[in-house]
Amino acid sequence: MEKLKLIIAPFPHIRDSDTTQRIMFTVLAALLPPVIAALYFYGWEAVRVLLLAAASAVVTEAAFQRIRRRPITIFDGSALVTGLLMGLILPANLPSWMVVLGSVVAIVFGKQVFGGLGNNPFNPALVGRAFLTTSFAVPMTTWIRPIDGITAATPLEIGANAVSTYELFFGNIPGSLGETSALAVLIGGIFLFYRGVLDFRMPLGFLATTAVMVTLFGQDPVFHLLAGSVLFAAVYMATDMVTTPVTPSGRWVFGIGAGFILVIIRLWGSLPEGVTYALLLMNGATPLINRWTQRRVFGRGVNTGA
């Protein structure tokens, strides 16, 4: 037999067909329902904010990697996800330069300074939002009503009796672009779950804790789940793989902890909404949660039984 050139590689020799890129594009696809809802309710303002946020996130990532002479990885889809998420958690009437600044901060200080994809401890879009909220408190809390664009308060600011559950569910309420329609968010969430990209523990823990706690303190749980960005964040941000625990029980801890913090901020804090900080704080706690919720290695600590 003539000398063959055989390929040598460590096992396994077969791989699953799913890729990280496909996961990112699945998330993008799952963002379509809230994007469509945002376009429907806010029209051109939504187009402006979403396009600017998404485009500046991708451009920032490419520029940063170019400056650092690192491989440019914008085609993995992750910067686009961050940019679109960023846009969806902003008010429809935010000035353009603030939108761009939010995306730049999200990508640079939320993601790239830690080494890029997979290495960021905090959800980049939430870092961008936290930055904008503390820097530009007034524009970040000036909301307009869907359709007619008149300045208005969010349901969380004015209380449970001012809006109907029906409107909360379908989305005819003032708020960030992506959070208005609970229905759109649910469709996206079901799609993510169906595609195996969403771990139900974090959103379920988050929402259930929120509902139980507000009920204990005499408030309407349905209102608290549908108003504000808790549902949007539960589906699209509490499920961010990079910044949440990897252990199954750790994921419950994450969701439940975020729910606790959220209710504390909503009921007793000076902010009407607390999703951003609830999730960022739990992001920060994730390494510890991973450590504390490690499973017992199979075969360790068992009696020999002999």
């Binding site: 037999m1 996961i23 890029g116 990897v246 252990t247 199954p248 991973n290 199979f298």
Partner: protein, 440 residues
């Protein structure tokens, strides 16, 4: 809910090409290579010399301990040389190379054989198995007699016959149950008698319906429990199998027989029956030769010591441009560099992948999706172990249980970022094992 184990993955079966065709013998090769080195790393000493004439079944390597087994000539001919030779493990090992004389001259049966094997005493069965040099045919190559002899308590609580064959592509065990049902059942009974096991279980994946029903028809009495298990990988892994069938967890630094549970492969049972029945050592085994890279995929009855190149020729040769030649299955098999390596008793399959299916994916950043954590059957954090290994943090890797990795490959398989998780974990394991405890 069927009995199973936590973690693992549902792999594509890829078994269809060879599952339907009965076992066929190959023509005896001109030359066989019989390694004196064993899976334990220990070697036996040659008791033949270069130029000596040998008969089929003649002992050529003598073992003097439980970590090795006797080695026998698988064809008649002349000892051409005794020298280090490429092995399927990727290492070289001292081997006896025998040139065939074209005859099938046999030694007189070393133990005589018996027409009524089931009447033999437990001790007699063990003695025959020990003398035969039979190794576990499932893949690890542990001497069969040593497993019996190493039982922590006797009689064994449970004898598990592993017919799970969870690796994709491989069908040798499935075919042995279908084509040699009487020898398989006899082998199970002999191993049951030799171990005195209270419970005897034949575990088969539920995808092998035909094999299971044939086993049902031939088992004779319900002394042999036949359990169908979900076709989830790595169902055939010893400790996962023990967990699924008995609910017991084998302690991390021990083997099942050390807690009184014997696990033998179904092909080992088949070989044990032939050994005891005929008195001859195992001279051949069934090997699945499969994959898109081979012209005539099938299950072949192959003389022990047949070189991979001869086996590939016997199966019609390469289809397309050769890429990988993997000994074992696609999950845990070893890609071969040198096709002069021989088929040993524990080679259950040869998988040929053409060049276009042999690419080594380029990894990208880990996104902590935790799919590797979800599938790990021993509850490790593969992505964390990988990071420790890449940063040479061996102590941290040890603290997070790297040594308990069973190398099933589920983590690498499932990783969407195509990271080589198991590769790095194995490096860490190697480092941890070879570093003295007191080193810094």
């Amino acid at each position: 809910m069927k009995q199973s184990f936590p973690g693992g993955i549902w792999l594509p079966s890829l078994k269809q090409t060879t599952a339907e065709t009965p076992v066929q013998p190959i023509t005896a090769p001109e030359r066989v290579v019989l390694p004196l080195i064993h899976a334990s790393g220990n070697a036996v000493s040659a008791i033949v010399k270069k130029g000596e004439s040998v008969s089929m079944g003649q002992k050529i390597g003598h073992s003097d301990g439980p970590s090795t087994a006797h080695v026998h000539a698988s064809l008649s001919g002349t000892v051409e040389r005794i020298e280090p030779w490429p092995q399927v493990t990727g290492l070289r090992g001292l081997s006896v190379i025998i040139q065939s004389d074209g005859m099938t001259r046999r030694v007189d049966s070393p133990t005589g054989g018996t027409s009524d094997p089931i009447q033999l005493s437990s001790a007699a069965i063990r003695a025959t198995l020990l003398e035969s040099g039979l190794l576990g045919m499932g893949g690890a190559g542990f001497p069969t007699a040593a497993k019996l002899g190493g039982l922590a308590k006797e009689p064994a609580q449970c004898l598990i016959i592993n017919g799970s064959e969870c690796e994709p592509y491989l069908t040798a065990d499935e075919r042995v149950m279908q084509d040699y049902p009487d020898d398989v059942i006899l082998g199970i009974k002999l191993l049951a008698k030799a171990s005195g096991a209270e419970r005897v279980v034949l575990a088969i994946e539920d995808s092998k319906k035909e094999a299971a029903s044939i086993m049902h028809r031939h088992r004779g009495s319900d002394r042999i429990e036949i359990v169908l298990l979900p076709s989830k990988y790595p169902q055939g892994s010893e400790k996962q199998l023990v967990k699924a069938l008995t609910g017991r967890e084998v302690p991390s630094n021990q083997l099942p027989h050390q807690i009184g549970i014997l696990v033998h492969n179904v092909s080992t049972a088949w070989a044990a029956a032939r050994v005891v029945r005929t008195g001859f050592p195992p001279l051949e085994r069934i090997v699945t030769v499969t994959g898109p890279g081979i012209k005539q995929p099938g299950n072949y009855l192959v003389p022990i010591g047949t070189q991979l190149s001869d086996l590939i020729d016997a199966a019609g040769g390469f289809a397309g441009s050769p890429g990988k030649v993997v000994v074992g299955g696609p999950m845990m098999g070893i890609a071969q560099a040198d096709l002069r390596a021989p088929v040993t008793q524990f080679v259950n399959g040869v998988l040929l992948l053409p060049e276009e299916q042999s690419s080594y994916p380029e990894p990208i950043a880990c996104i902590k999706c935790a799919r590797c954590v979800d599938v790990c059957p021993v509850f490790l954090l593969p992505m964390r172990l990988e990071a420790y290994a890449m940063n040479k943090r061996w102590d941290d890797a040890a603290m997070f249980g790297a040594e308990d990795c069973i190398e099933c490959g589920c983590c690498t398989y499932i990783c969407p970022s195509k990271r080589h998780l198991l590769h790095w974990i194995r490096i860490a394991k190697e480092r941890i094992a070879t570093t003295p405890d007191d080193a810094d």
